[in-house]
């Protein structure tokens, strides 16, 4: 009976059944909702959710590549990279230490019954104390004075209380690091070889500091040795204006599109500090030298630290650049400029350039004063920056310095006169001690004048009166046109392709354009509000004075053009075997053979027995033209010394220009001051050229 009562089924009423269906429906709907939600999330939203998950839990860390090298035309490295060993603290591994130190500080605060406790400040103090402890240990190991440490186990006691800045944790830097790059290791010592203020601890280039750390500091632990590259300029300040320098950048190129199967567009990216070109070739060819960033894909913790590295790719070094500079000639040029000093022993501002007559390639390009890019490669001290600023070292006087060319311009005046047929190569003019223009006497630099002067003699002695007469006969329009024909109004800072397409200047020569070039004419004088053009202005222009402003590089190009019998030379700083001298815009000079011969002969005579005779080189006949122009230095009149030319005289290979800024208390003259610089440049170049010729043609006469 009992069993039957247990198994008895009570008859259900229609109301109950309805209620049951309702419950079933409710559960069924709920089940459908859950399943539908799952399907929606798993099948439809899965990609978006995965991306969202990746975005929140992963990050990409970009690592800078080593920059490419810069070579001279013979393959000698002018800019290289050296190993930089830095000591870094892995903040994620130090979490426990931070926490323990924080709790200690908190307990101490509570013990002294502080009214209010700033917990964030306590945490920051804890971090600083822990990192300072590790920094002390690093210094304890790398400082060679700690030779015998027997019985001294407490590292803290070995650190002086008043430690120099490099031995203390910079709180501002730590704050910035935690704010912006918490996941990356914190740098304790930036450059182990030079851990002090850019100085090695020992006399052996800091190698000992590196070696001591490597061998004595424990391999395991939160402190790690990092090795990367830093820019080095083996020749120091040599060609600094050409090479430029680099600066820090936080904007590494984002060229990491090959992280397979991972969409990184929306993912957080952290960038190590890299380097980018700041001036010179380093800037102009930055896209070639930069290379390709490496990347690491990390999972991150809830606190924002890196957790596990999932994938990585090594950075790729940037491409190399070969310059047309020959470091031997460059060294000689700078050495010659370095001998120019004022009575107080300060270097005179100066510039010198030598170019290949046919290809336009620059063999040396120097500007004085200069700077050492090594000292700008890492952290630039404001003191050094100010020092360069004060001496005017940033200015590349060869390409940016604007000067009246003085008597070196007389080759253009003579060319203009002969082309306009107001004078011929053998015409003789009477040249007294001065020439009257309007109501003013324009002087000759020789008090008694030069008497009868032809083109040849004019160039040899640099006769002013000959040029006043020819300049006035030629007229300002023709003089200005001739100057433009020689390209004195064209910034030379453009690539051949730029010129062909009429593009904007820049890049082939990596300097800020010399945009202040002036080839004066009537319109120019009116434009600057200086009144109407007069004959005195023309007389001034005929000897390269007045409003005319040009650069030493332009004048070197003028010399190269005359050497080739043309009007334009496009200089290049890049060495290329394929360069065949495509001097865009160049046309024949427009003189007959006798005229051209006389023009060149006058320049040769200038060196042999004229104003440049001090720069004569036995065994190497060459053409030159000196110039001494006036300019105002701090309101007082001073002289600029010029010399341009090409060598050898009979078969030109190189052209050059030298400029020296005289001071108010210096005795500065074209031949006497600039001549020795040109002489030293050519004396260095000549044996190199002879040897190269011998190597190419072994049967050539020695």
């Amino acid at each position: 009976m009992k069993e039957s009562s247990d198994t008895r089924v009570l008859p259900s009423t229609p109301v109950d059944r309805l209620r049951l269906y309702g419950v079933f429906f409710f559960f069924f709907a709920g089940f459908l909702y859950v399943i539908g939600g799952l399907v929606y999330r798993q099948l439809i939203q899965s990609n978006d959710l995965k991306e969202q998950s990746d975005t929140q839990s992963r990050r990409v860390v970009l690592r800078p590549p080593a920059r490419g090298r810069i070579y001279d035309r013979n393959g000698f490295p002018l800019v290289d990279n050296r190993a930089r060993w830095s000591v870094k603290a892995d903040l994620a591994s130090l979490q426990k230490e931070f926490r323990a130190e924080y709790l200690r500080l908190l307990a101490a605060e509570k013990a002294r019954e502080a009214v209010s406790i700033d917990r964030e400040k306590l945490m920051e103090d804890a971090r600083v104390r822990v990192l300072q402890g590790w920094l002390n240990k690093v210094w304890f190991v790398i400082d060679e004075t700690n030779r015998n440490t027997k019985g001294r186990k407490s590292v803290a006691k070995l650190t002086p209380v008043t430690a120099p800045a490099e031995r203390q944790i910079n709180i501002d830097e730590l704050r910035k690091h935690l704010r912006e790059r918490r996941a990356l290791p914190f740098t304790l010592v930036n450059d182990l070889a030079f851990p002090g203020t850019g100085q090695a601890l020992t006399a052996d280039d800091g190698t000992k500091s590196v070696a001591r750390f490597i061998e004595q500091f424990p391999v395991e632990g939160p402190i790690r040795l990092d090795q990367d590259n830093i820019r080095t300029y083996p020749y120091g300040a040599m060609a600094a204006h050409v090479l430029g320098y680099v600066k820090d950048t936080d904007m590494l190129p984002d060229n990491v599109d090959d992280i397979s199967e991972v969409r990184i567009e929306s993912m957080q990216k952290l960038r190590y500090t890299g380097k980018t070109g700041a001036a010179g070739v380093e800037l102009s060819y930055n896209n070639i030298l930069s290379g390709r960033s490496g990347w690491e894909l990390w999972t991150k913790t809830s606190s924002g630290y890196n957790q596990t590295r999932l994938k990585f790719s090594e950075p790729e070094q940037g491409g190399n650049v070969m310059l047309s500079i020959d470091y031997r000639i460059q060294q000689a040029t700078e050495s010659a400029l370095g001998k120019l000093k004022d009575p107080q022993g300060n270097l005179l501002p100066a510039a010198a350039v030598m170019i290949d007559v046919h290809s336009g390639e620059i063999l040396s390009l120097a500007s004085q004063p200069s700077f050492d890019p090594n000292r700008l490669a890492d952290r630039v001290s404001s003191k050094y920056y100010d020092e360069i600023e004060k001496t005017g070292g940033w200015l590349n006087r060869t390409t940016q310095g604007l000067y009246p060319p003085g008597s070196t311009f007389k080759v253009i005046t003579a060319t203009a006169g002969m082309r306009k047929k107001v004078v011929d190569w053998d015409d003789v003019l009477d040249c007294g001690p001065f020439f009257r223009v309007g109501n003013r006497d324009y002087p000759e630099h020789e008090p008694v004048g030069y008497g009868e002067v032809n083109l040849d003699k004019m160039l040899a002695v640099s006769c002013n009166v000959w040029n006043y007469q020819i300049g006035l006969r030629t007229g300002i329009e023709a003089l200005a046109a001739e100057s433009r024909r020689f390209g004195l109004d064209v910034p030379l800072l453009q690539t051949v392709s730029d010129m062909e397409t009429g593009g904007q200047p820049m890049t082939e020569l990596p300097f800020a354009a010399s945009r202040g070039l002036v080839v004066p004419d009537r319109a120019y004088k009116l434009r600057i509000g200086a009144g109407a053009w007069n004959d005195g202005d023309t007389a001034n222009l005929s000897i390269g004075q007045g409003y005319l402003l040009t650069t030493p590089l332009h004048m070197a190009c003028v010399a190269a053009s005359i050497a080739r019998g043309e009007t334009r030379t496009v200089p290049s700083i890049i060495h290329s075997q394929e360069r065949t001298g495509r001097h865009i815009g160049s046309v024949p000079i427009g003189l007959n053979a006798d005229q051209l011969e006389a023009l060149r002969g006058g320049m040769v005579r200038c060196v042999e027995e004229g104003t440049a005779r001090v720069a004569r080189i036995p065994g190497l006949p060459y053409a030159g033209k000196t110039g001494t122009s006036e300019y105002f230095k701090k309101g007082e009149k001073a002289h600029l010394a010029w010399m341009i030319g090409y060598a050898p005289a009979d078969n030109p290979v190189v052209a050059f220009a030298v400029l020296v800024e005289g001071q108010t208390d210096t005795n500065t003259w074209g031949g006497k001051t600039a001549g020795p610089v040109a002489k030293e440049m050519l004396e260095t170049w000549w044996p190199i050229a002879v040897k190269a010729n011998q190597d190419e043609n072994p049967k050539a006469p020695r």
Partner: protein, 291 residues
């Protein structure tokens, strides 16, 4: 059945209590336990090493008299040659001391040499670590370099009363600076042990090799200690570059593998060069922070 269950339950409880105690125990207690365990097994290690020596002794004793006489003759010749070399080196040493005095050149670190027999290899890191039969009682200190002849074997990482543990050159915990044979400019390179699987060939990595370095033709390039880090004396041989150098993508430097010069698997005896003066690295190793 019930008794078995109770026994099992009791053992689980005991294990849990032990684990909890171990986790909660202060680090000093755990360190003491570790040391106690090492000292407990030290006699066994000594016995093992000595029995191996005894086996070698009897193996040699079983050789014939003719064999021994021939070996003795060869040894006498080698000894005679070495005597001449020793005299020559003594002259050079005196000249070296004289020049150092004249130029006031820093006296290199001085070492006390402790010769020790190899007891065993640490089974937890096969090929990367060995245990020797000398310890704190014999004056050995952590961080001291370990050599065999003029070649580096490794470095002392832990010192116990009568035994010491040595990280071999191929151990990931080993790191030192080196010069490469054929590099006239003496650039320093970094030698680092590489973690390898237990059946793989143990090697170390040589990195930061200058890109313009080329190995001497016809022979593997030797890798020497620099003596600049204050741990290893200079010009000890670490090993040979393995085959070639490989440029890294980062540029500017190359890498290679280092083959240790001594057969690390068959070492019987080593010398520990204990520095007379404690260096900073040693002080750090003995500090609490690295325990």
């Amino acid at each position: 059945m019930d008794q078995n269950r109770q026994g099992a339950r009791a053992s689980y409880v005991a294990l849990s209590v032990f684990v909890a105690l171990w986790i909660l125990a202060p680090s000093a207690v755990r360190r003491f336990n570790r040391e106690a365990f090492v000292e407990f097994q030290a006699p066994a290690l000594h016995l093992l090493g000595k029995s191996r020596d005894l086996a070698t002794f009897w193996e040699k004793k079983s050789r014939s008299v003719e064999e021994m006489a021939a070996a003795g003759r060869d040894l006498a010749r080698v000894n005679a040659a070495l005597e001449i070399q020793i005299n020559k080196f003594e002259d050079i040493r005196r000249e070296n001391v004289r020049l150092r005095e004249i130029t006031h050149y820093n006296v290199p670190a001085e070492y006390m040499s402790v010769v020790a027999r190899v007891a065993t290899r640490d089974s937890s890191s096969w090929w990367q670590r060995i245990v020797i039969r000398k310890g704190r009682n014999d004056g050995i200190r952590p961080g001291a370099p370990v050599v065999f002849g003029n070649t580096v074997v490794g470095r002392v990482t832990a010192v116990h009363l009568t035994t010491s543990e040595i990280d071999l050159v191929t151990s990931p915990g080993f790191r030192c600076t080196a010069y490469l044979e054929g590099d006239d400019q003496n650039h320093i390179v970094l030698v680092n042990g590489v973690a390898s699987n237990s059946l793989g060939t143990a090697k170390a990595r040589v990195s930061v090799i200058p890109r313009d370095y080329s190995m001497p033709a016809g022979q593997p390039a030797r890798v020497f200690t620099t003596g600049m880090g204050g741990v290893f004396p200079s010009r000890l041989i670490l090993g040979y570059l393995d085959g070639g150098t490989y440029a890294t993508q980062v540029g500017n430097f190359k890498e290679s593998l280092l083959v240790p010069s001594r057969d690390l698997y068959n070492l019987q005896e080593v010398s520990v060069l204990v520095p007379l003066h404690q260096n900073p690295g040693e002080a750090l190793m003995q500090g609490d922070q690295f325990q």
